[in-house]
Structure formats: structure tokens, C-alpha cells
Amino acid sequence: MSFLYARNITFSYINDFDENESAKKTTVFRNLNFAVERGEFVAVLGHNGSGKSTLVKCFNGINIPEEGDVIVNGYNTKDEEHLLDIRQSVGMVFQNPDNQIVATIVEEDVAFALENMGVEPKEIRRRVDDALKTVGMYEYREHAPHKLSGGQKQRVAIAGILAMRPSCILLDEPTAMLDPNGRKEVLKTIKMLNKEFGVTIVLITHYMDEAAQAERVVVMDSGEIVMNDTPKKVFSRVEELKNIGLDVPQVTELTHMLIDEGVSIDSEIITEDECVEAIRALFN
């Protein structure tokens, strides 16, 4: 069975305070099915309000579906008893690093989850150091988080999750508030966790070049999964993506323009290196 598995889930937000009767209940998706295998790196794309965050929050019991079941590592998220087990094995990193750092010292923040789990102090020390070294923030362990750069803060937030030794990390637009350098740092960390430590990654992003680096890309539109395939296959459907308001990586756009002009070039190019190769081949 898949590591994360959503079966026929329906989810609505209930807003009791809204005067407008019809606005009280916003149904984000109906009868949605979705699965992620252990060790996979999945990117989730979709325009604003398409339900990406809502879906991802179903996988660690923050959102409980109205209908259907979400099974995480064999546990149903409706099962209160196993909620902490689920939260421990599926960590979540949010967009704004400022709003997820709890403590005033880096290492204390990384220790927060472990303290909640009641881990022995010696073991906490070991895991905190490990997590900080993994994300390359060990030298900053005694710094105040508010004095770090955005990318560094986000890596501290990732370390805070990593210290729980989760099998899966859900990341909700972790690079949206970062500058290009910060984005690179964070994405490198995410890929390393996936490749070297076999951590399952679900990455929500608005950056196509980030999605291109995943093993699988899922595209959501108004609460439905409209595409679910390898990045190459997904990004070659340029027209469909544009129709639902999404971009493709710049190099894919370029090759598709060349194809339209009658140049014979591979239509499944998604990275810059591939593009350079293909164009060089054209000239030879």
C-alpha cells in the first residue's frame, strides 16, 4: 500500500461567521484520489486557490476529510490515537519561515518537536546536531533566528522537522518568500534529503523549474487533479497548462516555440542542460 493514500476524499471549509448563507461552506474538493509512494519526490502545481495546501494538510491530520479516508503509513488520520505518530512521520514546512520558528535560539527551535515527543535530553542533543549538520546550519546553532537570512531560516525550519526523523516531508511553497540564493539553498537541501536519506517529499510550488526537478508532477485545478505524470510528460502539454493559468519552464517554452517554427527538436526538454545539448546538436 502507498505511503500516503487519499481515498475518495471530500473536504470543505466551514465558516460559521459568514453572514452569507452560501459562503458558509466552501467545498475545496470532492471524491479526490491521490497516492504517494515511499521515497518519491512529488511536486504539486496549481494556480492560487486550486486546493494544493488544503490537500497537503490532509496528509498530517491538520485537515480531516468530511468523507473518504486518508491513510498515512497504515494509520487513518481520523484515528485520534495515532495522530502524534502521523505528525511525527509526516512533517510539514510552511511558506513563511518567521511564523514557524518557535524558540529564540536556533538549536532550541530544532529541539522543539523532540521535546514535545518526550525524547530523552541526550538523544535530543544528538538528533538536533545531526539535523543541523544535515541542512548545513550547525555553525549557527546558537544564533537568534531573526538575525538569519530567509533561506537560512527556512533551513532551520526544515531541520526542526528533520529532527523528528520523519519518513515524509510536506513543503508548502517553502521558497515563495526567498531570494534566488535562498531558493537554491532550500531546493538543494530538499533534493539531498530525498536522494541521500530517502525522505518522501511532497513539494507545493509556483516555480516550474523547481517542479521540473521532481520525479512526478501533479497539477491541480479547482480542486481536481488534472495531470499526474513525470515532469517531462506534464510540461510537454504546454497548451493545456497555459489554459489553466500555469507556465512551463522557460526552456520548454523555447523548444516548443522552435517546434512551432518547424525546427525538429525534442519536445520533452525541461532543464537548461538538456536544452543546451539539444541546441548544440542542431548546429552540428
Binding site: Q100, T104, I105, N116, V119, R125, A144, H146, G160, M164
Partner: protein
């Protein structure tokens, strides 16, 4: 102005004062405060001053910070001095003008009170300079933990304090940003009557509140994601443990307290 707030400003260091158990530091600060209030003469206060300066030197906190911590309370100091100067009319008359009488007792008392307040502020700010806010809240939680039995939410209170301390710099930064944004839109915050200036604060406070609530919601979710479920069964990365040096410090402080009591006897 906002940046002058020194509460919760921690200067990391490796001195013995930094390494004392925070619980012991709170107790020592308590003894120090008692000592200041027991001191009946300026000579007895001198003992307190020596203790304070000694502690500052050992902790290697720059003297400049000592002075900085007094800055925000200068109005209170002046107020106290003036009050004592004008309203104490016993003793030899030094100077008289209209209804104002200044006497030797007045001068003595006001100098004494001013020195006492300064000692109080500087001494207690040493606690926050040398103790990380987390250690401090942790220590308060431990000291108050017996109250859990009578259902005082000690853990929740200390968690709230930790988060407040964590968000002070973030919210200050945010206030600065909102102020600049409102100024760029033509808001005038520096001129006009007091009421007008108070009103000009509204467009700053409302966005600040809205954003603080949004942050709080996100933070709560992030904490839940990290298995937070109250204080039950929680462990800590840094265990508090008392070492011989803590008792040595307690001993030295007690000596100073006794010193004050003796001097009080001699000069009474």
C-alpha cells in the same frame, strides 16, 4: 525609540554569571532586591553597589549597557528625586523659595532613593543580559511548577512568554515596515496635537494586529505539526542542574546581605 527596550536582550557569553543555573540567578536577584530594600543608609547601599559592579565585571557585560538600561526610566528617577526633594521638610533648611523648601533630609533621601532605583534596574537587567529568554522562562516554569497542583497553567504561561519574546523582534520589524508604508502614503505621525498623533497610530496598529493574528494562526498550526500537545510529557533539550558554583554564588550573595544588615546596625 522602540529599539531601546532592553527587556529580553540577551548577550551570550561564557562567564560564570552566564553559566549559573537560571533558577539560582532568579533567587539571587530576589536576594539582591531584598538587600536593596533593607539598606537603610547610603553606606549600606554601597554594599549593594559593590555587589552589582562586581557581578557586572565578572559577567563581562560592557558598562555601556549598564547605562543603557537606565535610559528608559530616567523620567521615573527624576520624578522620584523631585518628589523627595520637595516634600521632605524635616532637617536643616538649605534653601527656600516661595513655597519650596529644600532641606538636608530632602537631599539625602532623594539621593538615596535615586541610587536605590538605579541599583534596582541595573542589577535586575543583569539577569536578562546574562540569561537567554528561554532559560529564563524555563526557570520560571520550574520555580512555579508546584503551582500546577492548584491548577495554575504554569506551562502555558511560560510557553506564551517564550513566544512573545520570540516575536518581539519580528513585530518590531513589521511595525517599522508598516510605518514606512503609511508614511509613503502621506501619513503624518510627527506633528500635531497629542490626540492627532494618537489617531495617526490607528493606521499602524490595525495592520499590525491583523498580521499578528495571521502569524498566530500559522504558528499554532506549525506547532501542531511538530507534535505540540501541551506541557504533558514534555522533555527539555537543556536540563537545568545546579552545580557547586551555584551554591558558591548563593553564599557570596548571602554574605553581602549580612553585610548590609550589620552596617544598618552600626549606623542606626
Amino acid at each position: 525609540m522602540i529599539k531601546d527596550i532592553t527587556i529580553g536582550q540577551f548577550f551570550p557569553g561564557k562567564s560564570i554569571v552566564h553559566r549559573l543555573d537560571p533558577r539560582m540567578k532568579i533567587i539571587l536577584t530576589g536576594i539582591y532586591i531584598v538587600l536593596l530594600f533593607l539598606a537603610k543608609s547610603i553606606f549600606a547601599l554601597l554594599v549593594g553597589i559593590i555587589f552589582m559592579i562586581g557581578a557586572f565585571i565578572i559577567s563581562q557585560i560592557p558598562i555601556r549597557l549598564m547605562l543603557k538600561s537606565i535610559k528608559p526610566i530616567v523620567p521615573i528617577i527624576i520624578f522620584t528625586a523631585v518628589l523627595n526633594l520637595f516634600f521632605i521638610t524635616t532637617g536643616e533648611l538649605l534653601f527656600q523659595f516661595w513655597i519650596i523648601k529644600i532641606t538636608t533630609d530632602g537631599v539625602k533621601t532623594s539621593v538615596f532613593m535615586v541610587v536605590r532605583i538605579i541599583c534596582l534596574i541595573i542589577g535586575t537587567s543583569l539577569l536578562t543580559y546574562t540569561t537567554s529568554p528561554i532559560a529564563l522562562t524555563d526557570a520560571i516554569e520550574r520555580i512555579l511548577s508546584p503551582l500546577k497542583k492548584i491548577r495554575v497553567p504554569v506551562h502555558e504561561l511560560s510557553m506564551m512568554m517564550t513566544i512573545a519574546l520570540r516575536f518581539i523582534p519580528t513585530l518590531i520589524e513589521e511595525t517599522d515596515k508598516i510605518m514606512s508604508a503609511q508614511k509613503a502614503r502621506g501619513a503624518d505621525m510627527e506633528t500635531g496635537s497629542l490626540i492627532k498623533r494618537a489617531k495617526a497610530l490607528i493606521p499602524i496598529l490595525i495592520p499590525l494586529f491583523v498580521s499578528a493574528f495571521r502569524r498566530a494562526e500559522e504558528l499554532a498550526m506549525a506547532m501542531e505539526c511538530r507534535c505540540y500537545h501541551g506541557g504533558e510529557g514534555r522533555t527539555r533539550l537543556k536540563q537545568l542542574c545546579t552545580a557547586p558554583r551555584d551554591f558558591a554564588a548563593l553564599f557570596v550573595t548571602a554574605l553581602f546581605l549580612i553585610g548590609v544588615i550589620i552596617i544598618n546596625r552600626i549606623f542606626s
